[in-house]
Structures are given as structure tokens and as C-alpha cells.
């Protein structure tokens, strides 16, 4: 560990990994005679077969010895891409649909590539999508927000009006109530993108709905519910508890991660309901009605109802309970090699802050505390990390989050005992990833 060249586990350095661990150890020990052969072969493979003819003897890493084009040519000018795009090498990390999950792309979902994301903020272009009747790019100057129902003054606001009001910016997660829904009964998908990717976290900017309802003179005594309605074809509606509006947390938001909301996320206006499932974060928000009972909308009477054993459905399930998942190493990945690995993942709770995350590598028999990366925010994604040295043997990785109410993320066994396997929604079970001796990581379920 003291020798600078000796990095345990990192036994496949550039270019494309041409030293074995044993070879590195030999370097550390001062034996270098074998290197000549190794370099010869590596150089040949890199430039084969043309370079073979030259017969030149490599004296080191071709990535160092042969200057790349970016070091020897002129680069591109500023504003080549007026709206910047990710590197071409990042093309694999995009929103994806799960084949066969839905049959109508206008009423479907695309999943965020959690397996490759860092920190807690989801890049806006990778934010998961769920539309109920397709998405539109709504003209902000023709968009209106109406407040009606149990208010003194039924009112209309333009986007100009709303953007003149005092704003707040807050970081919150949004998770679809059906996230991990395919996995209630058994493993169904290979990667964390599909198992947990109906999850994103952004900084939202907007106006607390309470401020607007105060302006309109809402009857908070009798009006204990609000209806939020979208301007899309489905004019999607959901009932929201007034308690949450009164807390000041519910926002009428137009900003996301420093720019305007993306069309797929509700441009120019969406409701932000921290801690509550995504379907309640009504997009293209056009109307808020204050009322004295829930509305029994399609998405709270036919869908987003959780079937329990015995056939009874839970209605108006809204809060996303404490949950976590290891995003790397995770299903569908393969570890580069033995040695050091950072187990990293995300934890969140719809009831407040995540207070701790534990990680197990033996399928939940023993646990170790993970490091939580601050700042920890209420109803926001929280990044955790945990050191791990892989010795090439099989392991089962799990993470388990605890929130500030003391609630501990449950196991599959505990959840299924109460809710069975047909509920579709609100699966917050501890996720297991099996690391095989080959280094391949697979999705498995442990009770």
C-alpha cells in the first residue's frame, strides 16, 4: 500500500488494462523483465495489425506515449452547441422504456439511468417521464392557473403573475408510486434503471401554493382537500391533503435545476408535493380547486390504488415511505476487478430526512453504517457511500435506510406479509444485488 505504483485491486490499468495484479506486484517488487513482453503484446493489440509491421517496441502506455488527437489539433469554438450536450461517450446513459411494460407510448414511462448518476441531482434531460396522455410543449403566454372552489375570490393567474410573486427554491425527490412495482412478486427487470428509475431529484423553483390560496381567501377550516388539474389531454387530476399545502411545502413550480421546467416535466407549471408520489405532482398545472372531500379521480379510484390480500384496495395512498437502493455496483453491471470498490446509492423518505443508511454484503445478516454525503435535506435524495474490498467471492449487497421518524426500510418478507404481492404500488423493500464470482452483478430478491 505504501508504494505509489501498487494499487490493490486496480489490476487493469491503461491502455485497456494491460497489467495483471501479479504483474503490478512484480513491478512493486522491482522485477520488470516480464514487462517487455506484456508491452509488446498490448501495443500490438491496440494498433493491430498495422502496427505489428513497424515492429516498434513500446516503452510504456500508448495513451501516454502516443499523443492523442485532442493534444495535437485545434479544438472546437465556443457556442458550437448553444445548449450544451453530454460527451458522446456518455450516450449509453439515457432515459429508457421497459420493453413490454406498457403498450401505448403516450401513456407510459421512461426510466432515469440511476446506475450512472452521481450525487443527488438528476440532470433535467434524464429526469424520468410518466405521461397519461402524451406531452405537449405548452405556450407559456397562453397558460393560466385558475383557483376556484372554497375560496373567497376565484382567481386566474398568468405565468407573468406567478413569476412576479416571491419564489423559493427547494431540492426534493419525486418518485412514481409504481416505482419498483414490477418487482412485487418476483425479480422482473435486470437493472436499477428499470427497478428504481421512476425516481428523480431536482431543485424546484416556484411559489408556495399557500401564498396563492391565502391571496384568494381559501377556507382552510372546511376546505381540507385540494384538487390539482393539468392542462394536457387527460387533464389529470389528483386530490392533495390541505395539511401539506398549509405546511408551505407544496409549490406551484416553474423552475427546475436553474432553468424552466422541461416540457416533459410540465412546462411551464407543475405542482410540487414533496414526499408524495409523482402522480400528485400534476404537470401543466391549470387549476386548483379547494373542497371538503376527495375527488375520486381516475388516478385515485382505478389506478394508484394498492390491492391488498383479500382483494381490498387502499385508496389515496400518497406518501412515499423510506427507501434506498445501491446504484453501483448494481444489476446488469460487471465489476472491473477484485479489490477496492465504493458501494454507492441513494436513500430517501417522504416523511422527512434520512438519518442513516446501513449496507450489508452478506444478504442482510450483518450490516455496516454507510457514509451519508451531506447536506441531508428533507424529502430529498440522499447519497450514501460505503467502502468495500471485493475478494472475488460471491456476495449479496443490500442497503437499508432509516428516516427521522425512526421508520426502518422493510424487507421483502415483511412487506409481503402485510401487503401480499399484487399491490403494484409503493414497493419500498430492501433491494438485493448478487455479485457473482465472475464479477457480474444480478438482481435477486431476499426475504
Amino acid at each position: 500500500m505504501t508504494h505509489p505504483d501498487f494499487r490493490p485491486g486496480r489490476i487493469r490499468p491503461a491502455p485497456e488494462n494491460f497489467l495483471s495484479g501479479e504483474q503490478i506486484k512484480e513491478v512493486a517488487a522491482g522485477r520488470r523483465d516480464f514487462l517487455r513482453n506484456a508491452f509488446l503484446a498490448a501495443g500490438a493489440a491496440m494498433a493491430a495489425p498495422a502496427a505489428m509491421a513497424s515492429g516498434s517496441k513500446a516503452a510504456g502506455d500508448p495513451a501516454i506515449l502516443n499523443l492523442p488527437e485532442w493534444s495535437t489539433t485545434l479544438g472546437q469554438p465556443v457556442a458550437t452547441n448553444p445548449y450544451g450536450m453530454p460527451s458522446k461517450y456518455e450516450a449509453g446513459l439515457v432515459r429508457r422504456e421497459s420493453p413490454g411494460l406498457t403498450r401505448v407510448p403516450g401513456s407510459s414511462v421512461s426510466f432515469a439511468p440511476l446506475q450512472g448518476l452521481f450525487g443527488i441531482i438528476t440532470p433535467s434531460g434524464l429526469h424520468f417521464e410518466r405521461h397519461h396522455q402524451g406531452w405537449h410543449d405548452v405556450d407559456p403566454n397562453r397558460h393560466r392557473l385558475m383557483i376556484n372552489g372554497m375560496v373567497k375570490t376565484e382567481a386566474v393567474y398568468t405565468m407573468d403573475d406567478l413569476m412576479r410573486l416571491p419564489s423559493v427554491s427547494r431540492i426534493h425527490f419525486i418518485e412514481c408510486g409504481a416505482n419498483t412495482g414490477m418487482e412485487w412478486g418476483n425479480v422482473a427487470v435486470p437493472t436499477v434503471q428499470y427497478s428504481h428509475g421512476m425516481l428523480s431529484c431536482s431543485e424546484f423553483t416556484g411559489v408556495p401554493l399557500k401564498l396563492i390560496l391565502d391571496m384568494c381567501g381559501a377556507d382552510y377550516k372546511k376546505g381540507r382537500y385540494i384538487l390539482a388539474e393539468g392542462a394536457d389531454g387527460s387533464s389529470m387530476t389528483r386530490t392533495i391533503p390541505m395539511e401539506m399545502v398549509e405546511s408551505g411545502e407544496v409549490l406551484v413550480a416553474y423552475g427546475m435545476n436553474g432553468e424552466m421546467m422541461r416540457p416533459e416535466n410540465g412546462y411551464p407549471l407543475r405542482l410540487v408535493v414533496p414526499g408524495v408520489q409523482g402522480v400528485s405532482w400534476v404537470k401543466w398545472l391549470r387549476r386548483i380547486e379547494v373542497g371538503d372531500m376527495p375527488w375520486g379521480a381516475k388516478d385515485e379510484a382505478v389506478h394508484y390504488v394498492d390491492m391488498m390480500p383479500g382483494g381490498l384496495h387502499r385508496q389515496y395512498t400518497s406518501i412515499q415511505e423510506c427507501k434506498s437502493v445501491i446504484t453501483s455496483p448494481s444489476g446488469g453491471q460487471i465489476l472491473l476487478d477484485k479489490g477496492f470498490h465504493n458501494i454507492t446509492g441513494l436513500a430517501w423518505s417522504g416523511r422527512g430526512k434520512v438519518t442513516r443508511v446501513d449496507v450489508s454484503v452478506d444478504g442482510g445478516i450483518n450490516w455496516m453504517p454507510a457514509r451519508i454525503e451531506g447536506p441531508v435535506q428533507s424529502k430529498a435524495l440522499t447519497r450514501f457511500n460505503c467502502d468495500w474490498v471485493w475478494d472475488g467471492k460471491p456476495y449479496i449487497l443490500q442497503s437499508r435506510a432509516v428516516d427521522e421518524t425512526g421508520y426502518v426500510q422493510p424487507t421483502y418478507g415483511q412487506l409481503r406479509k402485510v401487503r401480499g404481492t399484487s399491490s403494484i404500488y409503493h414497493n419500498n423493500a430492501i433491494q438485493s444485488w448478487k455479485v457473482s464470482e465472475s464479477g457480474e452483478v444480478g438482481n435477486v430478491q431476499v426475504l
Binding site: A48, Q115, Q133, G296, A301, Y316, S318, N366, S436
Partner: protein, 358 residues
């Protein structure tokens, strides 16, 4: 349709009016909504029938509309599973009496249809009116909505074919909805006071209690499910869904899984250690991991792929001597002239013995 044309007139009038209400604290922001504006957008219908418009229709009226506007997605009888989950099916006359759909409890029906789940008739009216038909939402008149709803309810045998559904009779039909007693709000996923104190839900009490045990938390790991092998590439090539740099790569799911470390001992020829030593000495390990792909395939992958060949030894020896391209992708393996015949033989022997790192 008249509702919408009235709306247009009202909106154009409103546009010329600066009826800025003096909202407390934020002068100049927002204005009072006109009654016509509220009427145009406030189209929701609640379970207590608030918002239900006047109108009427029978299943007979609805049938014509259904076949023209709905059947292409939902099927003539609302039974189609082609585009959406079936609307109708799975409910019985007994369910209409009890208000609980038995098939939800006992299974026996392949899908959970809309009629099996929906407890409130207003939900259907509200949704058809605001969101249907799929490509032309809000184009139906209120009478159309009554007629289509009557047609659906008739398919589910909730009402007769000639039953007139209107703003009065719809309330009565609520008492025949097959799953009207099939919902509960007794759970902890709604905030605020419990139902006993005027709220909804149980006051936020979770239904499962795990504990944050740290050591020896259970005797054994019950692994109950894993992704079936046939589903390995059901989501495409995972290698292309992961970053090309970093601590991990995506699995090449278009190829078979990396062979497990241990080869069957009985079938494997004895290995004297010379082959691995030669592979190491001649730089083979620069491009081939024992367990994993580097530039070329991992040795265990090579073995897994070719060991069943009757000419495996000759084939592998030839590949080492002359190189090749295309079997494992586009990156060529150059001829390995610096490996002697003796070494080739040893390496092949080592490969066929299971390619164990030593």
C-alpha cells in the same frame, strides 16, 4: 359542444376586461375569474355527485358512439386487452349485490379490469368527459358521456340496455357498482389526523416495522427470486446502458454470461501449471483476463464457448498461432508467432482444464 362555444365567447370578453382584484399583499397580481371561465374549466365530478351536469343517454345511444370512437382501442365489448387493460369483465351479479368483486380476492380473472376496481360511478363519468376519446379529449357532449357510460355499465350487466342514465338515475346506479365497497383508506400513507378525528387514513402509522439490527440479524439468506436466464437480454444489451469508464461496465447481455469460476473437475484434464505460466510469460494476460474480458475475451469465456467442440484443442491452438477476428467482436487478435509450439500446447491444455488462475 355548446358548453365550449359559450366558453370561447366568455373568454374573449374577459380578455378585454382588466378586472384586477386587489389581492391582499400582492397588488397587481392575478385577477378574479369570470363565472364563464370557472364553468369552462371546472369540469370535475366528485363522488358526492357535485359537478354532475344535466344530460341523459342509454346503452343503445352509446353503442353507436362506442363503435365509432371507443372500440378501436377498447374492443366492441370493452374487453380488448390489445391497447389498454380491459374495461369490462371479471364482475358478477353477486358482486353487484355485495359491492365487492370476488375475483379480486380469489383470482380467476386474468386482468384487473376497470369495472372490477372502480368504486365510484362518478370517476368514470369524470374521466370519460375530461380525457376521452384518446386522440380528441373533451370532444364529447355531456349526453354522449351519459350514453357511453350507460353502454359500459350495460356490458358489465350493471344496468339494462334501455336504461336511461341521467343526473338522477346515475346516483341510484352508484348503489349497484360491483366494487363500491372495495376500497379502504385505513393506511398510513395519507398525512394528518386519523379518520376517527376527522381526517382520512390512520394518522400516518406505517404497516411494517423493521428494526435496524447490525449483526447476526438472521440465520440464513433466503434468496427467493432472480432474473431468469432467458430474460438476460430482454432489456437490450446492458453494456450499452452503462458508462464506458469507471469501476464497472455493463454486462454484454447479447453474449452468454461469464462462465462461473469453477469448471467441472471430473471432466477437466489435469493441469500441470505450465500453460498458465506460458500465457503469463508471453503476455497473453495483457489482452485476456482469466475471468473477464479485457481487449479480448476472458479465458474462461473462451473455454465456455469452445470446450464442447470435438476439435477444441486444435481449434484453440490454431487461434493462438494465427490470431483471428469476429468471433468475439471486431477487435482483431494478431498472430502470436512468439509463442512456441510447446507453449501453445501447454496453454491449450490449461484452457481446457478450466483456465484457473494460479
Amino acid at each position: 359542444m355548446s358548453r365550449f362555444s359559450k366558453t370561447l365567447i366568455a373568454l374573449s370578453l374577459a380578455a378585454g376586461v382588466t378586472s384586477a382584484a386587489a389581492f391582499e399583499g400582492y397588488p397587481g397580481i392575478g385577477r378574479t375569474a369570470t363565472p364563464a371561465e370557472v364553468q369552462a374549466w371546472d369540469i370535475d365530478v366528485r363522488p358526492d355527485f357535485k359537478g354532475l351536469p344535466a344530460g341523459k343517454g342509454t346503452a343503445a345511444d352509446g353503442e353507436v358512439l362506442w363503435e365509432a370512437q371507443c372500440a378501436s382501442c377498447h374492443g366492441i365489448f370493452g374487453e380488448s386487452n390489445e391497447v389498454f387493460t380491459p374495461l369490462v369483465g371479471g364482475t358478477t351479479k353477486e358482486d353487484i349485490k355485495t359491492g365487492r368483486v370476488r375475483a379480486l380476492a380469489e383470482g380467476g380473472f386474468p386482468q384487473r379490469t376497470t369495472m372490477m376496481k372502480v368504486p365510484t360511478i362518478t370517476t368514470l363519468f369524470d374521466y370519460i368527459r375530461r380525457a376521452m376519446p384518446w386522440t380528441a379529449p373533451k370532444s364529447l357532449s355531456d349526453d354522449d358521456v351519459y350514453a357511453l357510460l350507460a353502454y359500459m355499465l350495460n356490458l358489465a350487466e350493471v344496468i339494462p340496455f334501455d336504461y336511461e342514465l341521467n343526473e338522477q338515475t346515475l346516483r341510484e346506479v352508484q348503489g349497484r357498482m360491483p366494487n363500491r365497497n372495495g376500497m379502504t383508506t385505513d393506511h398510513g400513507m395519507w398525512p394528518g389526523a386519523p379518520a376517527s378525528q376527522g381526517g382520512m387514513g390512520n394518522g400516518g402509522i406505517p404497516d411494517v416495522q423493521n428494526v435496524a439490527c447490525m449483526t447476526n440479524c438472521k440465520d440464513k439468506v433466503e434468496l427467493v427470486s432472480a432474473l431468469p436466464e432467458h430474460a438476460r437480454d430482454a432489456h437490450g444489451n446492458l453494456a450499452e446502458q452503462n458508462r464506458v469508464v469507471g469501476p464497472v461496465r455493463g454486462q454484454k447481455t447479447v453474449e452468454p454470461p461469464v462462465a462461473p469460476a469453477a469448471a467441472p473437475e471430473a471432466a477437466a484434464p489435469a493441469d500441470d501449471g505450465k500453460g498458465f505460466a506460458a500465457a503469463k510469460a508471453k503476455g497473453c494476460l495483457a489482452c485476456h483476463g482469466v475471468d473477464k474480458r479485457i481487449v479480448g475475451p476472458g479465458f474462461k469465456d473462451v473455454v465456455a464457448k469452445h470446450r464442447e467442440r470435438s476439435d477444441a484443442a486444435a481449434y484453440l491452438a490454431e487461434k493462438i498461432r494465427k490470431g483471428g477476428m469476429g468471433v468475439w467482436g471486431p477487435v482483431p487478435m494478431p498472430p502470436q508467432g512468439h509463442v512456441t509450439d510447446e507453449e501453445v500446447e501447454a496453454i491449450v491444455k490449461w484452457l481446457l482444464s478450466g483456465a484457473k488462475a494460479q
